[in-house]
Symmetry: C2
Subunit: 252 residues, 2 copies
């Protein structure tokens, strides 16, 4: 059965998509069959693995609304063991449309149950909010990976994120655990980065990954080529960091 | 009558809050009476001007829900001419609660009409989404300022943002204009930054501000002291850039 990991933080721009795309591709590179589910209407994970957002029919929106089966929405990528359920702007409507529907929080969980046995890992990339799309991902997941940018504003939202995780654990998904907190865009030269990472370790204790993702320009260049970092520049510090993170996660 | 400017981009982490806080404080520094409205449940603008999110009663949530008058929610800040309507996590519930209510898109507009005559500028900081909170801000505003990070993923969302602005202009707010597009966190040493800024100028034409905000560590340090950049480090490149931007906007 696949381990389902939800990658979320309502703070914007902290590296959710960069982590989802690169962790998924590193897992595929070490022969783990991996499914990347893009639950963000921006569709950044979809284009990050080289898919065209405008040509993806059916996509995660159709699956969530019950119009399509998840099997029909799964697409291959450049990596043999990496597959993706794409998203695009249609998904924006789902937040409002879900409000009035039955089982609005468990739609993703039900959809993924049909393919769980076919994968080693399923990673879910979330939008920067705590709405129904993120809620669906938290209900479907076994664990939560929280990217935290080494910046002050990124600290502010952590307690409301943990409150949401706790609420989901108490009601809709008792098995939900914290997979870990990942420091991202870390610039070890700045005082701010070391102060923030100290606070993050105080908040999450040993749940903070040993691997810290450095600020690395190749990581922000690779999406413009539609390639994960290991296909764009394997020697970069970003690629090495995500390979190390993968070893930490797959071993555990 | 105040010029009401909505600062929005559904892409996360592009510098919406940093622009809202620092533009508002620079306007106050040149004697323009300015109101900063925090429409993001994260409450980053609220803490960016030194207010305590947990001590703000009433706040923008109470105003939007009709439980409080905006006059009662306006707070002074360290700058004589800068005022703020704070927000906190309570606002998260508003997205869903607004779905069933009357006049759900015009609540902020109605609330601000009571104080428009008391300010020169009203700036609205938005969350990273195109939901009801951002919709309320677009309906209340005279114009939209769009921060664009000099990164590839930031380009992807621009067309759906413009579609939303167009839809609001055709239905709920015919006077809504593009105030401008602002390049943020710009690192002129990288090829990616110059490529992205070229694309942004193609997309927005002369609506792109001459002022470009450089990546500047003091800008990310200042929120941890609850101070806008002009009170934290006036000599920094970040402070100079936001002062220049203010001159561009106020003169226009
Ligand atoms: N370690 C890094 N070094 C340099 N740039 C990075 C790094 N990680 C991410 N980036 C860049 O920073 C920006 C924000 O990252 P990303 O889009 O992955 O964050 P996100 O949390 O998914 O954003 P959103 O909240 O909009 O979904 C992107 O342009 C990305 O390319
Ligand atoms: N020019 C800059 N130089 C360096 N750091 C910056 C700059 N502008 C913003 N930052 C930092 O980058 C991070 C993202 O900026 P900010 O929070 O203002 O973006 P946002 O668009 O408001 O994010 P969200 O989508 O979560 O609301 C913050 O930690 C901020 O301090
Ligand atoms: Mg993302
Ligand atoms: Mg913000």
């Amino acid at each position: 059965m696949a381990r389902i990991i939800c990658i979320t933080n309502q703070k914007g721009g902290v590296g959710k998509t960069t982590t989802a795309v690169n962790l998924a591709s590193c897992m595929a590179a070490i022969e783990k069959k991996t499914l990347l589910v893009d639950m963000d209407p921006q569709g950044n994970s979809t284009s990050g693995v080289g898919l065209d957002k405008n040509e993806c029919d059916p996509n995660i929106y159709n699956v969530i609304m019950g119009d399509a089966d998840v099997l029909g929405a799964i697409r291959p990528t450049e990596l043999k063991k990496l597959f993706c359920v794409p998203s695009n702007g249609q998904l924006t409507g789902a937040e409002v449309e879900l409000v009035g529907l039955e089982e609005r929080e468990t739609r993703l969980k039900k959809a993924l149950s049909a393919v769980e046995k076919d994968f080693d890992f399923i990673l879910i990339d979330c939008p920067p909010s705590l709405g129904f799309l993120t809620l669906n991902a938290l209900v479907a997941a076994d664990s939560v990976l929280i990217p935290v940018q080494s910046e002050y504003y990124a600290l502010e939202g952590l307690s409301s994120l943990m409150e949401t995780v706790e609420r989901v654990r108490e009601s809709l998904n008792p098995r939900l655990e914290i997979e870990g907190a990942l420091l991202t865009m870390h610039d070890s030269r700045t005082r701010l980065a070391s102060q923030v990472s100290e606070e993050v370790r105080k908040f999450f204790g040993e749940k903070v990954y040993n691997t810290v993702i450095p600020r690395n320009v190749q990581l922000s260049e690779s999406p413009s080529f539609g390639k994960p970092i290991i296909l764009y520049d394997i020697r970069s510090s970003g690629a090495q960091a995500y390979l190390n993170l993968t070893k930490e996660i797959v071993r555990h």
